[in-house]
């Protein structure tokens, strides 16, 4: 079942990419792309099972879209943050590596979380170890693990929990 789900997700993804690639499209190209995508998803690909971890409830879809906007907002904030630090004459940084915990269980969820952390203000995911993420933070704030976890992880986790557990 999970593999079937993964194949459907892959089909949607492949069609979406083909759709963008041939953007001013005509029917012939779409049909050819559709056939190619169908053939591709029938090949037993290793590793696509990860894609089956997405949930397909309507709630997950809404959260997915909300997550996209939240992510873009964070990305813009991250850039203004970096620009500010680079241009500031005294270079206000205080870097360090901190440990944060996640309670996402699926591989896809963790992958998305790690990527999101890397693109948000001042943080890069350095290493993962079970539930722990080691994050390089350009300006370490907060004293305890809990506070830090809240600051870095909680915002994304709220969405990712619903999308892919």
């Amino acid at each position: 079942m999970r593999l079937f789900k993964a194949r459907v997700v892959l089909l949607v993804l492949a069609l979406f990419i083909w759709f963008l690639l041939t953007y001013p499209f005509d029917a012939q190209e779409l049909i050819a792309g559709g056939i190619a995508a169908l053939v591709i998803i029938l090949i037993p690909l290793p590793g696509i099972a990860v894609l089956g971890e997405i949930r397909w409830t309507p709630k997950a879809l809404i959260y997915g879209i909300a997550y996209l906007f939240y992510f873009l907002w964070q990305l813009i904030k991250a850039n203004i943050d970096v620009a500010f630090r680079v241009l500031h004459p005294r270079l206000p940084i205080e870097p360090g590596i901190v440990r944060v915990k996640t309670h996402l269980k699926t591989r896809l969820g963790r992958f998305l979380l790690a990527n999101s952390i890397t693109l948000t203000p001042g943080t890069i995911t350095l290493e993962t170890d079970g539930d722990d993420f080691y994050v390089h933070w350009i300006k370490v704030e907060g004293i305890q693990d809990k506070e830090r976890t809240k600051k870095i992880v909680a915002g994304f986790e709220r969405f990712l929990e619903v999308i892919c557990g």
């Binding site: 850039n79 630090r85 680079v86 590596i97 890397t118």
Partner: protein, 111 residues
């Protein structure tokens, strides 16, 4: 339309320039990575959006490029930073703590 596209492209270029400036100004590898990851992502995105506005026929391809950049950029910088850490590149003088190496206090423990 062309002016709007130009504004986007220039905004993107400014972010790319700031990323380059960050590479020079930041004191150690990890901080450089910070500047090099975030600013280039948005810089590239803005530049491609500007391109799509000027040439509407390329919108699809620009969107696809943005998608790939969003997924591959953090991944590559994470891998580079991780590799650097495991080959023993240390944090700069300003670093306050390193929990991956163990303790985290005011004094530096790592050599």
């Amino acid at each position: 339309m062309e002016i709007l596209g130009g504004i986007f492209a220039i905004a993107g270029s400014i972010f790319l320039f700031l990323a380059a400036l960050g590479l020079i100004r930041m004191p150690d590898l990890y901080d450089r990575m910070q500047a090099g990851t975030k600013a280039t992502t948005l810089g590239t995105m803005l530049f491609l959006i500007g391109l799509a506005i000027v040439e509407p026929l390329w919108t699809g391809k620009a969107a696809l490029l943005i998608l790939f950049v969003i997924f591959s950029n953090p991944l590559s910088s994470h891998t580079l930073a991780r590799a650097a850490y495991h080959t023993g590149v240390t944090l700069g003088e300003r670093a306050s703590c390193d929990e991956l190496a163990g303790a985290c206090g005011d004094e530096e423990d790592s050599a």
